[in-house]
Amino acid sequence: MHGLVLSAVQVFTKDLYGPVRWARVMDRAGMGEREFEPMFFYSKAVGHRVLEELSVELNMPLDDILEDIGTYLVSRPNMEPVRRLLRFGGVTFDDFLHSLDDLPGRAKLAVPDLLLPEIRLREHSVQRFSLTCRGDFPGFGHVLVGILRTMADDYGALALVNHGGSGAGTEIVSIELLEPRFAQGRDFQLRAMVP
């Protein structure tokens, strides 16, 4: 599992639940006092153990945690680069949804060994969409739910996003776009403010 993914889990947990609880998760997952490095690669087993232990530590279903991580990734100031990179996907939320097909390709452009699940968008009507993700990353659909709900706000769109179940290595996320221009949305400049 790519270090970027696991260090996102690490930053999320330390930030929202404190470094002590994260240290406990890592210790129970057999990682000792180590920390995940974003540019390293870790075995799938390590990734699964850490997520399992995280669920135990936080006493929450893993699916809920993954959704929270998705939200965290695109809403926190320390994660601004992720939101920005996603916002390059389109001018409107609708554009953005259609850009998700390219997400694994875009991620690969930035970090060649980062493999995200394959994502397919289907447009059932002007309002109704579904995303199918297929890949070696169970629970990615829940992360997407968190990301999409937050990004809808970011674009100022009113949308209902739900996990539509999973099976045989695929997960479905359903999106109902009720109002594309519901609110102002957050500002997006092509150039990040350089501190």
Binding site: R84, L85, V91, A110, V111, F188, L190, R191
Partner: protein, 353 residues
């Protein structure tokens, strides 16, 4: 959004938002929506193209006639008033005698986004500008992460090295390990003999055959020390070509004399490094501590150093036991600065540590 059939001018605004339509006389007839952003307060329509833009390549253009000669070719131009952002473009004539000049930012894209406050909607759907901006930003983020990791690894390496008790090149113990061991033995009253060994003629090997040959000799020397000592003895490399052997419980000068001779004989074995033979020897200064007399690791090292100096003076390749009488032979002003009685570590650059 669904589109009805559009007049050509409007279609062009979508397909090429940064274009200009120019009359045969060189007057601007229409500026696309992104073109207008280059000079947000300008009128555009009716202005003379060559008064707005400065064309530099493929050659300087002063007249519309000169521009016509390079229709279809890649042009380099910049605004005459406003930011000097480099633009590229191509002009093509139309059937009605007017011509279209389409512009793009090329490599000055980042600058242009700042200079002209551009947004995603300012670029044609087929323009790769947004992807380029995405890529620049993504790569910057990834590069930052890599740089942070590199810094972290470098710090970890330095910390590990600072805490190490092993000499990297030879695998022997280092000065820190030796100091610790000596202090512990003195504290516990464990009697020992200590040999300070300085390689003779090593500098010549390094200077004439190179550092690689020098390193090879040092590694071989470490093996020689291991071969001549017991597993419980401490063998440390304390400088470029200086070694210290501590032999706990071994106090007989006769036995120590044998070990010293064996060490020197081993050191004098010729070394074959890539066909080049090098020969060195070693001088030894030995001090015996009975486990009771008042001493310190500094004093022991000083006494061994005095004995070593005597060996060197007596013609090298030999062992001298410390005797307080030898102290008188030490020149009043040391030839080299001394630190806690022992010679300072040799320049690491020279010895390739």
């Amino acid at each position: 959004m669904s589109l009805h059939s559009l007049p050509t001018a409007q279609a062009l605004d979508i397909l090429a938002p940064m274009h200009l339509r120019v009359s045969r006389t060189g007057h601007i007839l229409h500026a696309g929506p992104t073109t207008r952003k280059l000079r947000p307060h300008a009128t555009w329509e009716g202005e003379r193209l060559l008064e707005v833009f400065y064309l530099t390549r493929p050659r300087e253009v002063q007249t519309i006639g000169e521009l016509e000669a390079i229709f279809g070719r890649r042009l380099h131009l910049s605004l005459r008033d406003g930011p000097r952002t480099a633009l590229s473009g191509v002009a093509v004539p139309l059937e009605d005698g007017t011509f279209i000049l389409n512009l793009s930012f090329g490599l000055s894209l980042l600058q242009a986004v700042d200079d002209f406050a551009l947004t995603q909607t300012d670029f044609a759907a087929t323009d790769h500008a947004i992807e380029m901006l995405y890529l620049i930003e993504a790569k910057t983020v990834a590069m930052d992460a890599s740089r942070k990791l590199n810094t972290k690894l470098e710090q970890a390496r330095a910390a590990a090295e600072a805490q190490a008790f092993t000499d990297m090149l030879t695998g022997l113990e280092n000065r820190r390990a030796l100091d610790l061991a000596l202090e512990r033995m003195i504290e516990r009253g464990t009697a020992f003999a200590l040999m300070h060994v300085d390689l003779d003629f090593f500098k010549q090997v390094n200077d004439t055959l190179g550092h690689a040959a020098g390193d090879f000799v040092l590694v071989e020397t470490a093996k020689a020390f291991r071969a001549c000592t017991r597993a419980s003895d401490i063998v440390a490399r304390v400088g470029g070509d200086e070694f210290v052997v501590v032999l706990p419980g071994l106090l007989s000068p006769k036995e120590l004399g044998c070990i010293g001779t064996r060490i020197i004989r081993q050191l004098e074995q010729p070394h074959d490094y890539q066909g080049q033979i090098s020969r060195i020897s070693g001088s030894i200064g030995t001090v015996i501590w009975d486990g009771a007399a008042a001493t310190s690791s500094e004093l022991v090292m000083y006494q061994a150093d005095v004995a070593l100096y005597a060996s060197k003076r007596a013609g090298r390749g030999r062992q001298t036991f410390y005797d307080p009488e030898l102290d008188a032979n030490i020149p009043p002003v040391p030839a080299r600065p001394r630190r806690t009685g022992a010679k300072p570590a040799a320049d690491p650059a020279r010895t390739g540590q």
